[in-house]
């Protein structure tokens, strides 16, 4: 008995001594020399032309510069380029900032820009982003002209894509493996990567934008895949920023005085798509019935705790051409359209709503209830991402919840989703409309902002009038951070400038 009591006493004393051993919290409002960022996944590569995940994007934009980038409102602002102008329909003149150096000490010149863009054209994953860039005509080290194969108003938006990161031309020629040996001109320099654990970057002491040089010596991207664990790590001070706060943790972080929360909506379309090769989804009145039947507020509440922009058309509000298509939640109107369509619910027959994530499934379940209210029976089926994309791309579905996030360029939404050339890939509705395809092709070449806006509004309205998709919301972006940090934000395409964060 005495022995047991002695052991217990030793354990209790040990626990008391151990207090404070648990974390590397720098204190309530004090920060160390490392900005610790908790991320949902691991980086996959440091090659800017060979990735498609958002975690890698954070690392890429920390290490590399582009000609231009987005601010938090998705407006194009200068990065390595100081100035640009649209010289003609097919030509854009650029001037680089003086004195930009890569992390290996070499100067960044127009030659590097050309080599990087031409390299991107050969990379399968990103070639479509630079497809319209035909050539780069170099005037001198700082001046060059980008020539496009057709008038392309979205050039700047595409140049802001991390795929257009500027790499040293000499290293490109020598066949450098940028995945393992990244050399850029961004605010940080890659230091190390421990798979599934963390990636570490150090401040680039030669960063050209001295005003926005990082206050922290190091940046650490830590992998914390579980949402609750990320929130807990933030609360205990083990990380300084949580780049992906669960909507279910919204109130918990909002009400915590030691934490701050940045919120916005992704530049994204989450919607209910129809396979219009199958009956009755080829019936306009049937589709319109569903447009009026879906209670978008309820869907957003169920899937994102009410957070996220309610979409009124295919193009989110940050994208040129966004409109209010006028569909409201109106059960009576929905029933009217359903009756007009001639649809009769067969006994035992249920349409399948496909989804590929828990969030999608929550949306689908609410929609299932909405459709039941007007007399349409459905069931919900969740698949893996790969299976879902394959089935939807190949038209093996009836209805599906799909998400589409991309740059704030209307062409990057409309072309993949509705152009006839996208059949078999992302044209989920299986639309073979020559007229719409031509309008999309024509609109991409309109440089005048006013005419461009009108053209895209027209296409958007036409697609919405035909009820090809029920647009619902974009993903709520919630960034949690330790109070004391300033300038923490994420733009609508999930980009973050860690170097501008201050304490």
């Amino acid at each position: 008995m005495k022995k047991i009591l002695s052991v217990l006493l030793i354990l209790i004393l040990s626990i008391t001594v151990l207090t404070g051993c648990g974390g590397d919290n720098g204190g309530e409002n004090s920060f160390g020399d490392t900005l610790r960022v908790g991320s949902i996944g691991d980086i996959s590569t440091m090659d800017p032309t060979n990735f498609s995940d958002l975690q890698t994007q954070l690392a890429i934009t920390a290490v590399y510069s582009r000609l231009v980038k987005f601010d938090k409102d998705l407006k194009v602002i200068p990065d390595a380029a100081e100035h640009w102008e649209n010289i003609s329909d097919l030509e854009w003149g650029f001037t680089l900032k003086e004195g930009i150096k890569f992390s290996d000490g070499t100067d960044l010149t127009a030659e590097d820009v050309k080599a990087s863009l031409m390299r991107a054209k050969t990379q399968t994953l990103v070639a479509h982003i630079v497809a319209y860039i035909e050539d780069v005509d170099i005037k001198d080290d700082l001046h060059f002209v980008i020539k496009t194969s057709k008038p392309f108003a979205a050039l700047l938006s595409n140049l802001a894509d991390p795929a257009c990161s500027i790499l040293p031309s000499e290293l490109i020629e020598s066949g450098n493996d940028f995945a393992k040996n990244p050399v850029g001109s961004g605010p940080y320099v890659f230091e190390s990567w421990t798979p599934s654990e963390k990636a570490v970057f150090v401040r680039n002491e030669n960063y050209f934008d001295t005003e926005n040089a990082s206050q922290f010596e190091k940046l650490e991207l830590r992998v914390i895949p579980e949402g609750s664990s990320r929130t807990i790590a933030l609360e205990t001070g083990e990380i300084d920023i949580n780049t992906s706060v669960l909507t279910s943790d919204y109130s918990r972080i909002k009400e915590n005085e030691k934490l701050g929360l940045y919120e916005t909506t992704a530049n994204q379309l989450y919607g209910l798509f129809f396979n219009e090769t199958k009956e009755p989804f080829n019936n306009l009145d049937f589709r319109k019935a569903i447009e009026y039947a879906v209670d978008k507020e309820a869907v957003i509440q169920a899937s994102q705790e009410g957070l996220g922009e309610r979409l009124t058309s295919i193009l989110p509000s940050a994208v040129v051409g966004s409109i209010d298509a006028g569909y409201t939640y109106d059960v009576e109107k929905a029933k009217e359209y359903l009756q007009k369509s001639g649809f009769k619910q067969e006994a035992g027959k249920k349409f399948v709503i496909r989804s590929m994530s828990d969030m999608n499934t929550k949306m689908a379940v609410v929609i299932q209830g909405n459709l039941k209210d007007i007399g349409i029976e459905t069931e919900v089926a969740q698949n893996t991402v790969a299976t879902h994309m394959e089935q939807c791309g190949q038209g093996q579905f009836e209805m599906a919840i799909m998400g589409w996030a991309t740059a704030p360029d209307p062409d990057r939404f409309l072309r993949p989703l509705f152009h006839k050339d996208s059949l078999g890939t992302n044209n989920f509705s299986q639309l073979k409309d020559d007229e719409i395809s031509k309008k999309i092709d024509d609109a991409v070449g309109i440089i005048d902002e006013t005419k461009r806006k009108a053209a895209y509004e027209e296409i958007n309205r036409e697609l919405m009038d035909e009820a090809h998709v029920v647009p619902i919301t974009g993903k709520a972006i919630l960034i949690g951070y330790r109070a004391g940090l300033k300038n923490v934000y994420q733009d609508g395409v999930f980009g973050m400038d860690f170097n501008t964060i201050r304490y």
């Binding site: 404070g20 996944g41 479509h128 995945a179 798979p195 654990e197 807990i232 205990t236 790969a386 994309m389």
Partner: protein
């Protein structure tokens, strides 16, 4: 003994062939296109087909499988579809972390379960026995995901004495994940130890030892435990094998950079080379652990050692 060991190692070959064939077949025939998944939503049909050609995905299944086995025999586990890194790099950079976690879990499980099992058996139907069995029941009933989060809330958030995840804090980082992962094994080993001890301490020779006046501690430790250990060693070996491959939830909750998460992510991405790489390693580990268990039998029970001669 050595011939026996070599025979067991050679038996790995048909096992690995069977595992790889079944997994390759399942991955190949499930819906979804790895090229489409890799390229993402911006892909054109032309780029998807080009990537499929580059990856060799348009070849017949048997050709792809034969190519994989040929490369594997030459030590090449292939390239990850997602990162483009060697699969061997992807797997072996995480494998030590999985082993560390599995060892931590089994050490916790054994350290707790064997004493509880012994005392429960020697004091059958006592309060200690009942409490011990309740603990065992809780260990097997509680979802590891929930247990992990509760431990984090208690020790990391409220007490602040242990880290909530990652490996940054060395040994301290290992404590909570080991308890979480080891809880279910602890339950199984406790019950096995208790039941085998109960069987042994009822044997005639134990009664004889007590009748001769041998101290109770010696009766239990020297005479009973060694004979009761065989089922315990068997179960521990099976549990160890399972722990090596089944730590996915624990790795996710504690952000532990192991192979479990890599495997799950790769299945979702249809990253077949990485899935196969992980499963080949798991299969080898499972077989080796079972071999070690069989060898340990010989040292625990001389009757078994005689069979190997």
């Amino acid at each position: 003994m050595y011939r026996y060991i070599i025979k067991r190692i050679l038996a790995l070959i048909p096992i690995l062939l069977g595992v790889t064939f079944i997994v390759y077949a399942i991955m190949s025939f499930q819906p979804g296109d790895p090229a489409r998944t890799l390229l993402g939503t911006g892909a054109t049909e032309a780029s998807i087909q080009q990537l499929r050609q580059e990856m060799g995905l348009n070849d017949p299944f048997i050709v792809q499988y034969a190519r994989y086995i040929w490369n594997l025999l030459h030590g090449d586990m292939g390239i990850s579809y997602v990162t483009g890194n060697d699969v061997s790099f992807e797997v072996f950079s995480r494998f030590p972390n999985t082993v560390i976690l599995a060892i931590g879990a089994i050490v916790f499980a054994v350290a707790v379960s064997i004493p509880i099992g012994i005392i429960s058996a020697t004091k059958q139907y006592s309060a200690f026995d009942n409490i011990g069995m309740i603990i065992a029941l809780l260990g097997v009933s509680m979802p590891s995901f929930w247990l992990g989060l509760m431990l984090i809330l208690l020790f990391s958030v409220h007490l602040g004495i242990l880290p909530s995840g990652g490996m940054q804090n060395g040994f301290w980082s290992l404590i909570l994940p080991s308890i979480t992962l080891g809880a279910e094994s602890m339950a199984t080993i406790t019950r096995t130890t208790r039941s085998s001890m109960l069987e042994v301490i009822r044997q005639d020779y134990i009664r004889t030892a007590r009748a001769k006046g041998v101290p109770e501690r010696k009766v239990i430790i020297k005479h009973s435990l060694r004979n009761a250990l065989i089922p315990t060693v068997t179960v521990t070996g099976i549990e160890m094998g399972a722990l090596l491959g089944g730590a996915i939830l624990t790795e996710t909750v504690f952000s532990w950079p192991g192979m479990g998460r890599l495997l799950i992510d790769s299945i979702g991405n249809q990253n077949t080379p990485v899935v196969l790489g992980c499963l080949v390693i798991f299969a080898i580990c499972f077989c080796i652990v079972n071999l070690i268990v069989d060898i340990l039998y010989a040292y625990i029970d001389p009757r078994i050692k005689a069979q190997y001669k």
